[in-house]
Structures are given as structure tokens and as C-alpha cells.
Amino acid sequence: MEHIISVTVENKFGVLSRVAGLFSGRGFNIESLSVAPTLDPSMSMMTIVTTGDDRIIEQIVKQLNKLIDVIKVVDLNENEFVERETALIKVHTKPEDRAEALRITDIFRANVIDSTPGTYTIEVTGSVGKIEAIINLLQPLGIKELIRTGRVAIAREPIRPAVTQSKRGAKE
């Protein structure tokens, strides 16, 4: 099953390779990984999308917690969360296709962020389903280049306090 794991880490060199090395060394999957500093510039937040059965996910969470540069690990699937991904899509546009490209952009509430006589670059943000849908619609026009950020996710503010697994709470 797919899980989204949110990992707070020290913002210093080498941390990404420790996390990536853990996944490759132990044969865990990474579907996507995104990372950027948090409000506190000494920390970064990683969003890792991974797959595995319950035992593997438990191991992933524990192994991440064991890394000394990891400050906090939250398996977002334990509670409600929202997720978003951004894609930048460069589309070939023949003169007769330009209106269609704009219509599709409009329908998906996406933006054209760059335009040349032969291309539009479209920025779209949303769920994975939405991004895949717009890609499917734009494909007949001819996609020249596509870049996706990978997903970021955040827990929904709970009605009751969230059960998170911090390092101190990592006891069984």
C-alpha cells in the first residue's frame, strides 16, 4: 500500500544521502521525494512517497527514526492528510491548437507561465489524479517536456489531537 511519510531532518549536507542510502540499502521503494527547508532554517522537511505492506512501512518509519539527523517522522496515512503536486508541462502548439491548449489550461485552473510562438509552458497544481488527467488531455497536442515536483503533503488539522510518532514517542 502507498504511504506518504513526512520526515523532519537537520538541514545540513549529507542528510539527503543518508535517507536515500537507507532506502536503497534496505531495498525500500521511493516513489517520490521532495525536500525543502522549514520555517526554522536549521531543519528541512522531506515528503517521501513509498509503498510496502504494514511490516515494511513500520520498518521504514523505525529506520528513519534511527537516523541521527532525523528529528521527527510522521506516517501521514495514520490520519487524514491533504496532498498536492505541481507539474510544469511544455506543450508544442501549432497555431490551430493554441486555443485548445488554453481551454484545457483553464478547465484545470492551471496557468500558462511561458509562451513562445510554438509552445506554451503550463503550470498545474493538484492531486496526482488531476495532474495525470491534464497530461492525458495535453498529450495529443504534443508534450515536449514534463517535470513534476513529486508530492508534498500535510496532515489535516484534527478534531482530536493527532497521533504522531516522534522520536521520544517511538516506544512500542
Binding site: E10, S17, Q59, K62, N65, K66, L67, I71, E172
Partner: protein
């Protein structure tokens, strides 16, 4: 006053109470060696290879319980010590390894003797540091010792570029250290401990399955108390030997692939397994899906990742073995009613039947070739009163030593368990001897394994480390040959080692003492002579070449399905026996398949 990085290094080691380091110099660490050369508090043992330095630091750590320290240079110095780091990581040995690095301005330029020390060591250290600023050096060293020795111990690397060792900074050694992402759990969950106590008190066929965590947390006394108050048999892993007295009536000896018949049968048929500081390694569990199929499992370990990694656990308790066992004993005092001895009498009757059915045994023909088991049994009997420290290499001799050398106390057993590093034993013994110059330190080695680090004979002689190496010499990679006997129809691919070297002459070439016992009648005399000599000794014992180590659970087999002796077709060759040939003797007598 400002100190250079090298001086800060020295002062920091003094503050950590380091007495001995194992080291080999090179261009980028010369400043540090220069400072070490001008002082007397810290003994610098110059090794002949960085792998030896790493294993010596491991031996030192295992025997003392303190962090072992190694110092190596950049590039090849670093790559050579990797094996020891990986070994220490697998066996949770507290180690702080310092490596030299090219000057910070050259990092990444493919400079002479540059290697990515951080990248190389990342998968085989608990943590590693690159010190880029001399002002961070003291704090980094403090953190390195803290991380290496707390929680589940392990190796830590500190990479020091040349300019950092030469630049100056104010020195103030931090009094304490706090790392926000690193807070090991020591106290077990009280509720879980209570649940565990209730399960233990009721269990009719329980087994304690104890691992190396018992040694590192110093939990032997608690373990003995727990076992005695509940009358529960104690199965030990290879790493736990000495953690519970080998001659204790509740000791079942070693479990696992070459464990005793009764230890493996007991765990298979038990109704409760209490795992303490162990990690359910495949050499212990055999076929993991059928490991202790009838039992509930309580698992006490300081490392949460060890729990539920390989087997399902009913009651997980994250915490330090010593602290948790103490609480468990208290909880049991409140829980136990009735006689635990009486409750478990049928279980012990069953275990004693297993013991009688298949004891550890070998047949020593007084006139025939020396059996390797006999060497270890005699070594044990002739030295046990001196409370020796015993190291081993990896292979058949290691398993026989685990079976026959019944250690009474912890921190006496130095062996490479997880990584299975041949060549570990001799340098590890030297590390222990450096920590305890007056103790008897034995190394039971195989002729194959020991050749991976014989260059350290020079280190032993020069530094007056009088370790006694008993070479169980069958002229084979014995365990490889055993697997070839059992699973490859006796085709000995690359396992025969021929008669070289002559270990007596080899020892003598380095200025050590070489002895040899070729007959059963010479064995006791040779052992007695070896341990009386206050110098490094190689005692070469040519043994029956075809002796195999049993019981044996084939890889992936179940714990109750042990091979107990050679299959009949192998028996014939066994029966004939063949002493290992000695260098210089007629080579035509060598039997090869």
C-alpha cells in the same frame, strides 16, 4: 590560548579517558601523529595494516566495554579500515575511528590519496562526521564518543582534513552533549513489562533467547537472577557467550545453525520465547516462518528497528536490557505465585532427554589424528582457571570454540558474528591484550582465517602483546569444505589451502614463538608451554582434515531439523581420518577429492 587541531584532538582524547589507540600514519594525519609522539598518556600502537587497527580497537572495546579508538590516514587508510567498521556495525561494537582527509580546499578534486570517507563509511557506521572547521573539532569528538557508546553502540567515523589538524582554535571540551534527533530509550514501558511478567509466570515451556545486548548493557547479573528465580533455560546466541555462565545448570549453550541440539529443540517447542538484546538473525532463526511456531514472543531490545524486523512479536519492550530486566524481576516478584521449579519440571525433563539423546560429542582415537574439538576442549580445561579472554576467527573452529569453550563471564569472548570477518581473531586478541596486559588472551584461529592478518605478528612482537594463537590447522577453508561435502558432492572448489605457510617458521620470522603439536599425546604439553611463554605464540595444531561441525541446521532449514552427523557416504572418509600435512613433509600424503 589557542591550540592546533592536532592538540585539540589529543586533549579531547585525554578528556574521554582514552589510554590506547591503534593507528597507522599517512601524509594528511602526520600533524596528529607528531603531537601524539610528544606525549606519554596515550599509548599509540602502530599496526601493520589499517584493518588490523580496526579489529584491535574492536577487541579492546569488547573486552573493556569502552569505545575502541583507531586512527588512519585518507584514501587507502580509510578503505582498509572499512571491513572493521562494517564488522563493528553488525556486532554493535562501540568504536571511534578517526580518518585523515585531504585539505578542505582540495576535497572533491581527486587529490592524492583522497577518498570520499563519509560516503564510503555511511552504510557501515552508526554516524559519521566531516570536520570542516577546527572550531567544531572538540564538540565533534565529544559527540562521536557519545553516539558510539550510548543506545545501541556502534562505530562512528570522524574525518579530519589536514588543514583542520593544523589550524588553531580555542579549546574548551564540552561538558555535555545533546543531539535533538538522537534520544535512545532506556526505560522500558511499564505496562508492557507487567504484561511480560504475567506471560512468563504462566509459561510452561519458556526459553530465554539472549544476544549480545546482554553483554553491552552489562545485564549478566540480572539475567542470572531472572533465570534462577523462574527456572527458565537460557539459550545464547554466538554474540551472547559469556553473558550467562556456560557451566550454569540453566545454560543451554549456543543456539542457532551450529548450536546444541537441546537449545534448538527447546526454542522450537517452547510456548514462550523471551528474547533479550538479540535480533533474530537468520543464523539463529533458520527458516524464519517456522521459528518457534508454538510460542508467544517477548522481545526486549534497545533498538526499535530490531523489533518485528524478522519475526512477529507479541510483547515488544524497547529499552536497555539491564534496566528492563531489573524491572521485569520486580514485576515477576509481584506476579509469581506457586513454585516455578515445579511448574517447569516436565519441561526440564524434556530438555534433559534431548541433552541425553544428542550430546556434543566427538571420538578422539589416542593414536589417530587430533580432532579439532579435542584441541578446544583441552585448551578450555587447561586454561579455565585463569579466566582467559578468547577470540576466534570465522569458520569451523569458531563454532567448535563456541560449543566447547564454556565462558563464565561477559567481555571474555571476542568473535565476529554478524559480518563473519575472517582475520578478525588475531588483531582482536591483541586489542584485548593491550587493554589487559596481565591477562591470558587466547586466539583460536583457523589456518585459512588467520592468514588474512598475519602481518600483525610484527605489531604483537614490537608492542609486547603476548597473545596465544592456536591455529586449528586442517589445510582447508574448513567450513567451505564442509558445505562442499554436504551440498556440492564433495567437490572442493578453491577450499584446499595446501601446506603453506609453515606457521612455526612464520612466527619465528617475526620474532614470535612458534610451536607445533602433531600427536594427541603432545597436545597438553604444547598448550601448557604456550601459555607459560610471555611472548606472542603461534601454536600450530594439524588436525583431522575432514572433521565436520555438528549439529548443523542447513541454511533456510528449521531449528528442529538438525543434521547431527556426517551422512553415511561421508562417514567413510571421516572414519579414515587424515592428519593435516605439515609443511616440508611428503606432500603425496595429501588427500584431495
Amino acid at each position: 590560548m589557542k591550540l592546533t587541531g592536532a592538540e585539540i584532538f589529543l586533549e579531547s582524547l585525554r578528556k574521554e579517558g582514552v589510554r590506547t589507540i591503534f593507528a597507522l600514519p599517512g601524509g594528511v594525519v602526520l600533524k596528529i601523529f607528531d603531537i601524539l609522539h610528544q606525549q606519554k598518556d596515550i599509548q599509540v600502537i602502530l599496526t601493520r595494516h589499517e584493518q588490523g587497527a580496526g579489529h584491535m580497537a574492536e577487541g579492546y572495546a569488547k573486552a573493556t566495554g569502552k569505545a575502541g579508538v583507531a586512527l588512519v590516514t585518507s584514501g587507502p587508510g580509510m578503505t582498509n579500515v572499512i571491513t572493521a567498521l562494517a564488522d563493528a556495525y553488525m556486532d554493535s561494537v562501540p568504536l571511534v575511528c578517526f580518518s585523515g582527509q585531504v585539505p578542505t580546499s582540495l576535497i572533491g578534486n581527486d587529490a592524492f590519496q583522497e577518498a570520499d570517507n563519509i560516503g564510503l563509511s555511511r552504510p557501515c557506521t552508526k554516524y559519521n562526521f566531516l570536520v570542516k572547521d577546527v572550531n567544531d573539532l572538540a564538540m565533534t569528538i565529544k559527540e562521536a564518543f557519545y553516539v558510539a557508546t550510548t543506545g545501541r553502540p556502534g562505530p562512528v567515523l570522524v574525518d579530519i582534513p589536514k588543514d583542520v589538524s593544523m589550524n588553531k582554535a580555542d579549546f574548551k571540551y564540552p561538558a555535555s552533549v545533546s543531539i535533538r534527533g538522537y534520544n535512545p530509550t532506556y526505560e522500558g514501558n511499564k505496562w508492557q513489562i507487567k504484561q511480560a511478567a504475567e506471560l512468563i509466570a504462566k509459561a510452561k515451556k519458556p526459553v530465554l533467547y539472549v544476544g549480545g545486548g546482554v553483554i553491552f548493557s552489562g545485564a549478566s547479573a540480572e539475567l542470572i537472577e531472572l533465570a534462577e528465580m523462574t527456572n527458565i533455560p537460557v539459550d545464547m546466541t554466538l554474540m551472547a557467550l559469556g553473558g550467562f555462565p556456560g557451566e550454569h545448570p540453566l545454560s543451554m549453550g549456543m543456539m542457532g545453525m551450529h548450536g546444541t541440539y537441546w537449545a534448538n529443540m527447546a526454542v522450537h517447542y517452547s510456548d514462550l520465547v523471551v528474547a533479550v538484546g538479540a535480533r533474530f538473525d537468520d543464523r539463529v532463526t533458520g527458516k524464519v516462518s517456522e521459528f518457534c511456531p508454538h510460542a508467544k514472543v517477548i522481545h526486549i531490545d534497545i533498538d526499535p528497528t530490531s523489533i518485528r524486523k524478522n519475526v512477529n512479536v507479541d510483547i515488544p519492550i524497547v529499552g536497555d536490557c539491564k534496566i528492563v530486566l531489573r524491572e521485569l524481576i520486580q514485576a515477576l516478584r509481584a506476579t509469581v505465585n506457586g513454585d516455578q521449579k515445579e511448574l517447569r519440571k516436565p519441561w526440564w525433563d524434556q530438555i534433559n532427554d534431548w541433552k541425553r539423546a544428542h550430546p556434543l560429542a566427538y571420538e578422539q582415537d589416542p593414536g589417530g589424528p587430533i580432532k579439532p574439538q579435542h584441541v578446544i576442549k583441552r585448551l578450555y580445561e587447561l586454561t579455565k582457571d585463569r579466566d582467559p579472554i578468547v577470540s576466534t576467527d570465522v569458520g569451523q573452529h569458531q563454532m567448535w570454540t563456541a560449543q566447547y569453550f564454556k565462558l563464565a563471564q561477559p567481555n571474555r569472548w571476542l568473535t565476529s558474528g554478524g559480518l563473519g570477518t575472517m582475520g578478525f581473531g588475531f588483531p582482536a586478541a591483541m586489542g584485548a591484550q593491550a587493554a589487559f596486559p596481565d591477562r591470558l588472551v587466547l586466539c583460536v584461529a583457523g589456518d585459512g582465517s588467520v592468514q588474512m592478518n598475519t602481518q600483525e605478528l610484527a605489531t604483537a612482537v614490537v608492542n609486547k602483546l603476548p597473545v596465544k594463537v592456536i591455529v586449528i590447522n586442517n589445510r582447508y577453508h574448513g567450513m567451505v569444505r564442509q558445505w562442499q561435502d554436504l551440498f556440492y558432492e564433495g567437490r572442493y572448489a578453491s577450499s584446499y589451502l595446501d601446506v603453506y605457510p609453515d606457521f612455526v617458521k612464520l612466527a619465528e620470522a617475526y620474532g614470535a614463538v612458534g610451536l607445533r603439536a602433531t600427536k594427541v599425546s603432545e597436545l597438553d604439553g604444547a598448550i601448557t608451554e604456550a601459555i607459560a611463554i610471555n611472548k606472542p605464540v603461534f601454536l600450530d595444531v594439524p588436525v583431522d582434515q575432514y572433521e565436520n561441525c555438528y549439529p548443523m541446521i542447513p541454511a533456510g532449514g528449521c531449528n528442529h531439523e538438525m543434521i547431527l552427523a556426517d551422512p553415511p557416504e561421508l562417514k567413510k572418509k571421516q572414519k579414515a581420518g587424515a592428519p593435516a600435512p605439515v609443511a616440508g613433509e611428503d606432500k603425496d600424503t595429501i588427500l584431495t577429492a
